[in-house]
Amino acid sequence: MGEPAAAVQAEGLVKTYRSRAGTVEAVRGVDLRVESGEIFGFLGPNGAGKSTTVKMLTTLLSITAGTGRVAGLDVAREPDAVRRRIGVALQEAGLDGRQTGRELLVLQGRLFDLSAHDASGRAEELLELVELTDAADRRIKSYSGGMKRRLDLASALVHEPEVLFLDEPTTGLDPASRVTVWDEVRRINERGTTVFLTTQYLEEADQLCDRLAIIDGGRIVREGTPSQLKTELRERLGLGRAATLDDVFLDATGRARTHVAGEVQEVKA
């Protein structure tokens, strides 16, 4: 018996871009393995390669080198089959503001080959799930940031995906909306969906993720459960207190925390 297929697996994943300034290596050989049923956090500073990695794994960007497998399928060779098994909610909820929430979900269902009747029924279920039934027939452009995030999440779930990719799902949300999104993510995961989540919020990763990886400069620099990573750092540095995920992140990415202008904290390279 071989090893069971991982929900997400990347081996030597590389993405380079050509620009006027030369070749940019956005991702430089990422290896990852996310088991089925996990909530996996993918952390890193701005420009570290998080979104690029997610875009490669979700078939939205071509892979320069290496392989990516999602739900047991090769991302580059079987992109359509991969798309049928994944849900994607990208950074900055990409929604069509001129449609209503209901229309958007029905359309999403139709694009996953549900009949008009089934797509309509599924839209209703999802609107209830994300508590948007009352706003279902309003144009999306009138929604608040939190409502848009929840709708985006719902649209990624229309076809009951095996793996859900969430790229910074709570960026820009107020604390209450953030907690609501966390609850949704937990609920979705409890139903058996593997969640691959990128975030810049360390508290979010600590609260939600079973395991996480930190990427910096296009390479994975730490990987493990939040408690493993914190314990490893405390022991390695001989800290006299419990390490936080912030400490792990700053240590992994070579950033230092300095106090600037009173209580304002700034992370500097």
Binding site: T58, D96, Q99
Partner: protein, 251 residues
Amino acid sequence: MTHALVLAQRALREGIRTPEAIVPTLFIPLFFLVVNVGQAARIFPGSSTAFLHGQGYGAFQLPSSMLLAASFGSAALFLVEEIEGGYFDKLRATPVHRRAIVVGRLIAEGIKALLIASVLVLLGLAFGIRIASGVPGFVLLIVLTAGWAVVYAGFMQIIALKTRSAAATNSAGLVFFPLLFLTPNFVPRNLLTHPMEIAATFNPVTYVMEALRSLILQRAHWETIGLGYLVIAVAAAVMLAVSVRVVRTYD
């Protein structure tokens, strides 16, 4: 085809909910029709101008206005908006056929153009223009206009996909604009100056305009009509092939 149709339905809803994008499509071509006829109608009186086949100069100018209206499609700008807002990636992450992403909006553009062309012709009829080729000619007239709308919108979509910028897409639209005027716009091709005649002969839009004009001014003149349709068919085939390639390799 289902994917293309549901995306077309969405694009039509988008159009209906953005009337401010449709009103100029009708108003500007009508404005040019009125101005051009006002300026040149006395030079070309219907009673003594052979190329008008007994109609007024408005009948000769109507095809230019129809082509102009058909070139005001908003598909490419909506597409750029979608790319900038992130919804385009959301669509690409679904198993939707890549061709449907392009064709969906073009179907909607074609339907809008059928309606706009019909309104323009009906307004023309109200002002005394006759469709010499009758009801079948009317149908061929608006279908050919819609065909041009689809082709033009398709090329604009390619630019939108390549540049991903509203400003660049808008500017590119202006580059295409001279195509509409390097045609026998005010007089038949044989009355143009020699350099203009050469330019018009090489301009495929000329053949579409001449086909439209022949449907209005003459009984069915199949060679001219066929040439117009052939130009649209070839341009549509090229546009679709390039569009699908661009959307498939979109990174």
